[in-house]
């Protein structure tokens, strides 16, 4: 999966535009980095990569760049 695609999925989960995000963006600062965003990310990863990430794993990521690591 390309970095662009990962960004798209993350933006979708955050209900934001891709243009508003960079790899350095801190997740905690984003209003929409809520429990539903985490559930969305988990849902996408499980569908795309056939693995069910721990909620704790996702919640541990600090930046958008870190979160992109989970997409595999």
């Amino acid at each position: 999966m390309s970095n662009e695609e990962k960004m798209e999925y993350i933006a979708e989960s955050l209900e934001m535009d891709v243009e508003e995000l960079t790899a350095e963006t801190t997740l905690e600062d984003l209003e929409n980095w809520d429990s539903v965003a985490v559930l969305s990310v988990i849902s996408i990863i499980s569908e795309q990569f056939d693995r069910y990430p721990d909620a704790a794993e996702i919640l541990g990521y600090k930046t958008v760049g870190d979160l992109m690591e989970a997409f595999q």
Binding site: S35, V36, I42, A55
Partner: protein, 248 residues
């Protein structure tokens, strides 16, 4: 015994409710034709059942929507006439609104609703069944909403509706059809979904906590389905039977 001489087609027989139901029917003298994707898990289930040499396992992916004929060819080859069908196969994807789309929702509809309709269609054909009883699995989500489970709730509502509406056409063939509305059941499917949601939402209250009778065991659901498959429920068709652990 209650099911002596009877044969039932059970999907999702490799685990959870389908597995418990297969064991229940076997213990009551019935023969089971078991469908699931996982051949190994089907075999494992088989070893736990009474008269295990009597039953048949058919590894099959129900998302393979155009090839259900294969299942019923196997039955014909074994000269099996069915007395009942229960569709327990399915998954419960958590789908928040922000990532919902037609494709994702359709996956749930495929396994819960379209697979069910296809199975019922084949079951009702001449030479496949001898009247009997069909049971679909609905869920409390079709009545009490659970956050981020929109598509799942819709699919289960569709199953419940089908069990009511199809009762009309199926009665002409002496086939009864009902649904069981389950609550929180102790299965791998339910547990994985709950664990994820609970870890994320500190305010998430597992609806199971509100079940007066506690979390349900698959064996308990099996008993209710068994009742609907048997002559004991001969005056019931087109209905949704609540077996929700008291989630009032």
């Amino acid at each position: 015994m209650k099911f002596s001489g009877k044969t039932f087609l059970i999907t999702g027989a490799s685990s959870g409710i389908g597995r418990a139901l297969s064991q229940n029917i076997a213990s009551l003298g019935g023969r089971v034709v078991m469908i699931a994707r996982d051949k190994e898990k089907l075999g494992e289930t088989l070893t736990t059942m009474d008269s295990f040499s009597n039953h048949i396992i058919i590894p099959f992916d129900l998302l393979n929507m155009n090839n259900y004929k294969e299942i019923f060819h196997i039955l014909k080859n074994h000269k099996i006439i069915l007395d009942g069908l229960v569709h327990c196969a399915g998954f419960a994807d958590i789908l928040p609104l922000r990532i919902m789309n037609r494709d994702k929702a359709l996956k749930l509809f495929d396994i819960h609703y379209f697979a069910f309709i296809e199975l019922v269609k084949h079951y009702a054909k001449k030479g496949i069944s001898n009247g009997g009883s069909i049971v679909g699995i609905s869920a409390i989500n079709a009545h009490t909403p659970q956050k981020c489970m929109t598509a799942y709730a819709a699919a289960k509502s569709a199953v419940e509706s089908a069990c009511k509406t199809l009762a009309l056409e199926l009665s002409e063939k002496s086939i009864r059809i009902n649904s069981v509305v389950v609550g929180g059941v102790e299965t791998a499917m339910a547990e994985s979904a709950d664990k994820v949601i609970a870890a994320v939402e500190t305010s998430y209250e597992n609806p199971v906590k509100r079940q007066l009778l506690g979390i349900e065991k698959p064996e308990q659901i099996a008993e209710v389905i068994s009742f609907l498959l048997s002559e004991e429920s001969s005056c019931i068709t087109g209905r949704a039977l609540y077996a929700d652990g008291g989630l009032l």
